[in-house]
Symmetry: C2
Subunit: 338 residues, 2 copies
Amino acid sequence: MRATTIHAPGDIRVEQVPDPVLKKATDAIVKVTAGCICGSDLWPYRGENPIRPGATIGHECIGVVEEVGSEVSLFRRGDFVIVPFCHCDNTCAHCRAGAQSACVNLGMTSSGQAEYARVTQADGSLVGTGEAPPPELLTSVLALTDVMPTGWHAAVSAGVRPGDTVAVVGDGAVGLCGVLAASVLGAERIIAMSRHESRQQVARAFGATHVVAARGAEGQAEVLELTDGVGVDAALECVGTDDAMSTAIAVTRPGGGVGFVGVPHGVQLPVRTLFEKNIGVRGGMAPVRRYLPELLDLVTAGRIEPGLVFDLTLPLEQSPEGYRAMDERRAIKVMLQP
Amino acid sequence: MRATTIHAPGDIRVEQVPDPVLKKATDAIVKVTAGCICGSDLWPYRGENPIRPGATIGHECIGVVEEVGSEVSLFRRGDFVIVPFCHCDNTCAHCRAGAQSACVNLGMTSSGQAEYARVTQADGSLVGTGEAPPPELLTSVLALTDVMPTGWHAAVSAGVRPGDTVAVVGDGAVGLCGVLAASVLGAERIIAMSRHESRQQVARAFGATHVVAARGAEGQAEVLELTDGVGVDAALECVGTDDAMSTAIAVTRPGGGVGFVGVPHGVQLPVRTLFEKNIGVRGGMAPVRRYLPELLDLVTAGRIEPGLVFDLTLPLEQSPEGYRAMDERRAIKVMLQP
C-alpha cells in the first residue's frame, strides 16, 4: 500500500510498504477514507523524538472495515468506523474506570496516513457510525479520532464546570478543541491565548469570549487582569512545553485546576507553587474510547463542529507538504485523503 | 504570658514573652484552653526550616475570646472558639471559591502553644462552639484547628468517593485523620501504610481495613497486590517527602488521584509518569475554615473522634518534652495545657 513514512527529522515520504495484516484474532484492518497529521507528529519531524527510519507515521484515521479477526464480533467488512488513536479492550479494570488510554491491552494506530491501518482490540476500540458520514460531517468525525477527545480531556482533567472562567494555552488544533470542550461543558468566559489571526477566528467560533495574543509574563498579566487579579478557575495546557505549563499554572486561581494534554517535553512541575496555591494538575493521553459516543452524538446532532480545525486538505501523496504546512504554522491541521 | 519558643534546632523553651495585643480592628485575642504540637513544627525543630531565634511557635489552639477589635461583630469576650491555623476573611474571591488558605488577608496563628494567641480576621476565621465543649470532646475539637481538616483536605484533594479503595501514606496524626476522612467519605477499602503498632491501632479505629508495614518498593508491591495489580483509586500523601510522594503515585491506578498535604520538602513530581498514568495531583494547605462547620457537626454528633490522635497530654511548661516525644515518635500528637 501507499503510506507516509518518516526517515529522519524533516524527511517525510510517501512510499510503497507492505499492507498491514491481521496479527491477532482481535485485530481488524481498516481501509482509510481520511487520515490526518497531528501536532504530536511534529515532535519526531522536528527531531525532538527518536525516529526509526522508514517507519510509517500517523495515528488518526477513519474508514471502512476491510477484514476482521476471528474473535471480532461487533464489526464486519463494510462497516464505517472511527479509529481512536489509542486502542483498548474496553473491558479491563482500567478501561472500566475510564482510563482507556492505560488499557492493559493498549495499542496505537501506526499507519493512519496510509491506505490501510491495523486496529488492535477492534471490538473494544472501534466506534461505528452506521452509514458513512455525509461529506459535511467528514472532518468533524475525523476530529473524533484524537484532537477533539484530547481537547475534551484537557477540559475534563482541568475540572471545567458550568459558569467557570477558563484559559486555554496553545492555539493548535488541540487547544482550539479545548476551547470548544470548555464551551460545551458550560464555561462562561473562555480566554484563548493565541497570536495567529486564523486560529483566533476558529477559537471565537468555538466559544472563546476573549483572546490574549501576548505570551510569557505579559500574557499571564493580561489574563489576570481580565479576571480582576483572581485567576481562572481552570486552565488547559495544550502544548507540552515548560513555558506553556508555567503560564497555565500562573493564570490559575488558588484552588483551580490545570488540565494538560500536550506530551510533556522538558516540563518541570513546581510542587511548592502548586502546594501554595492548591492548584490541581491532571492530564495525559486522552481515553478516546470513553468520550467517543458522547462526542459523536454532539457531532451528529450538529451541536459541535470540531472539523473546523482542518484548514488544508491534501491527497495522501502530498503528505510531505502537509507536514511542512503544519510545521511552518501555515495550516492548523491537515487532512490527508488516500 | 508564658509561651513556647524556638531558639535553634532542638532548642525549645517555655518563656515569658509579651502578651499578644490587638493590632487591627479585625483582630481578636484568644485565651488558650488547649494547644498542641504539629508534625510541621518538627521541620524547624529538626533544622529543616529556617528559625528566627526566640520566636513563638505553635499554630493550633482552642480557647475563649478575651478581647476583640472594633470591627469584630460576630464574637465577643467569653465565646468559646476554634482557631483555624490559617486565618481568613472568608469573603474574598478565593475564600468564596473554597480556597480559604489562599485568602487575600491570610494570617496564621503564631502562639498556639502559649497562654494567648492573636487571631487576625476574627469574624472570618473563628468558629464558635456555643458552650465550652465537654471534656470528652475537648481533644476532638482541638483536632479541628488543623490536623483533622488537613487529613480531610488530603482525601478531598485526592477525590475520594464512595466505594473507593484508598491508600494513606504516612501514619502521623494527619495521615491517621486522612484514614478517618476517607472512611467518612465512603471509601470501602482503606490501606494504611504504617510500621508502628500504636498508630496501626488508631488507623484501624479510624476505618483502615488493611495495614501495610513495609515501605518503598516492597510497600508499593504489597499495596498493588492487595488491589490485584490495579492500584488504588486515591492515595493520600501525608508526609511531604519525595519517598512518600513516589509511593503515593506508584500505588495509584491510572486515572486515579493523589492528594498531598505534607509541606513538600525535596519532592519532585514525575510529570511523564503522571501523564502516562493520567494521575491527578492536588493538594496544599488545608482551607480549614471551609471544612470546619461540617467537621464540627460530625464531632458533636459523635460520628468522628479525631481526638484519638492525641496520646500524650502535658502542661504547657513541658513543651520541650512534648517536642522530644513527637520527634522520637514516642507520641503521635501532644496536647499542651496552659
